[in-house]
Symmetry: C2
Subunit: 343 residues, 2 copies
């Protein structure tokens, strides 16, 4: 549908805050005429909506890295879209842009709030709002800036089949590291090994992780890229080498509470003068263009593998969020709001 | 007693390995004629023996930072002594030296194994084998090299009345930090406050540590110097500020096992891009002379406070180790082997 003066914008608004899982009843869907962009603004047709695990947290009363979602307002959404009309020379109709377009078909935004992207042949547009975006920056900068890898060192990655973890594994290999990926289940491990080329994979659900780490890292671990926490993190820390580094990117096992680390295991940080450091991608936005360009090169030549799962239509928001909540998504979860080329 | 050709050296040897607490029965005391130093060696009259908590661990079969003590050999001992006769131009009779002289009255050592010290007026000799030695280097370098303090920042120290902790508190104040010391019991807290001048003290045995931290660190914690681990460490980590640093010097609460950290608390390392790093004093021996000279200045002018507890006589080894094992020592524990000036 073309957005003329009479176009109607479908918008998903937060109607009430879920206490447990999100459902259709927590949203109100409205239809309003589309306003025109003002000076310095553009009108964007939203094409893809990213569904990160943290999206559920935005609906709570407590602020996250976004202010808490206001009831009745259009639900916050991390989007990729195409410019339809522009009142600023920096963007032209047909340009693709990343932005916070919200859970709606069209959005109006000042050009300063948007980031122009230049898709390359052979790389799907959806990748530019997932692995070739903040997730890629998180993987690359977390590994290089906090992990400070040197070729030949041993890197262990947890949640290794996840969107960030699988990139860390592959970037680690490209940097000349010996990479060991830890993931849960035969399917994820097979994908890491057969598609991503990570030879050393541990299935924590079906293998003795400590014994496998001993076998795969006989001289210990130089760098750990940690997304999970809990007992496996203890096992990794206990095996750190002198001056080892733990990149703490997330501790997803602890988000519902009740998970602990063995304090005695942390003594290995003392014994080896090792470092555990938290990573916040917001500290590295100045490296965005350079890092994403590198990752695009690898994606375009086929040497960087990733999985994206797309559900079709704004009305799939709840289903998509539920899949992510239960870890059922195979790859980064997105919702397609409109077909590419739709204008 | 002068060490002539006929002098007899009293030596404490390890007779058997204790399984629990150490007792007199684990030592054999022998008396042997004193050998003469060879070329490049000196004969040292041992004056002070340091009793660190780890001394008990040296008696086990497992290596520590020392190789495991051999049964029947003179027990390893960290000593301060005075040179009696020398066959090397670098040391002369009357020079004071630190070394690993063992649990015995005299020792023979190559000069390369000894460190000459130059006591200043007003500073007791025993300080040179305790706070003005590796403990001082541990406090100073741990705080400055790992903590990277900037004036005006907030520093929290655990085991703050201990030999290292109390130095860290005072060095922190000298560097312009706001210092909060956490210690157990009214006596220790009073000493920190009244003698060491640390105004902000928390008695973890009798106060609500979380509430007191909130009150004393309303803007959070920039640096933690951590010696203990366990629940108090969780409370500290939860209050770290952006880019906070945790100097991990020891985790003494965990040495008998069974202590845990809340994994969710560690998320604050991610949320604040904070760093927890282990500190090994052996990495900083190149700074020994410079740092100890600074600490000596402060000790000599009376601005650096410390407590030393001396038991008199080699036959007090077991009592001294037992006091340390039960934390009954008030200050660094030493045994006096001979009177200063005895030759």
């Amino acid at each position: 549908m073309s957005a003329g003066a009479s176009a109607i914008n479908t918008q998903w608004r937060l109607a009430s805050r879920p206490t447990g899982e999100v459902g259709r009843e927590h949203f109100e869907v409205t239809h309003s005429p589309l306003p025109e962009p003002g000076e310095g603004e553009v009108r964007v047709r939203n094409l893809y909506l990213l569904i990160p695990p943290s999206m559920r947290l935005w609906m709570n009363e407590k602020d996250t890295y976004f202010p808490a979602q206001v009831l009745g307002e259009v639900m916050t959404g991390i989007t990729l879209g195409v410019v339809e009309s522009s009142r600023d020379p920096s963007l032209a109709p047909g340009d693709y842009v990343n932005g916070l377009g919200g859970c709606q078909e069209w959005s109006i935004a000042p050009v300063g709030h948007l980031q122009k992207i230049q898709p390359r042949p052979g790389v799907p547009l959806a990748a530019y709002r997932s692995v070739l975006d903040v997730q890629g920056l998180t993987a690359y900068c977390g590994l290089t800036e906090i992990g400070k890898p040197r070729a030949g060192e041993t890197l262990v990655v947890t949640a290794a089949a996840g969107s960030v973890g699988s990139l860390v594994c592959q970037i680690g290999k490209k940097l000349g590291l010996k990479v060991v990926g830890i993931a849960g289940g035969a399917d994820k491990c097979a994908w890491l090994r057969d598609e991503c080329g990570i030879e050393n994979v541990i299935d924590y659900k079906h293998e003795d992780v400590a014994a496998r780490l001993d076998a795969l890292c006989p001289e210990g671990i130089d760098i750990a890229y940690e997304n999970v926490g809990g007992p496996v993190m203890d096992m990794i820390i206990e095996r750190l080498r002198n001056k080892g580094r733990v990149v703490l990117c997330g501790l997803v096992s602890s988000y519902n509470g009740g998970v602990t680390q063995n304090t005695a295991s942390l003594m290995q940080l003392v014994n080896k003068a090792a470092r555990m450091e938290g990573f916040l991608v917001s500290e590295y936005l100045h490296r965005y263009d350079e890092v994403i360009a590198t990752l695009q090169d690898w994606a375009a030549d086929g040497s960087l593998k990733y999985r994206i799962e797309v559900l079709d239509g704004l009305d799939k928001i709840v289903e998509a969020m539920t899949r992510v909540f239960h870890g059922k998504n195979q790859g980064v979860q997105l919702v397609k709001i409109a077909q590419e080329g739709t204008q």
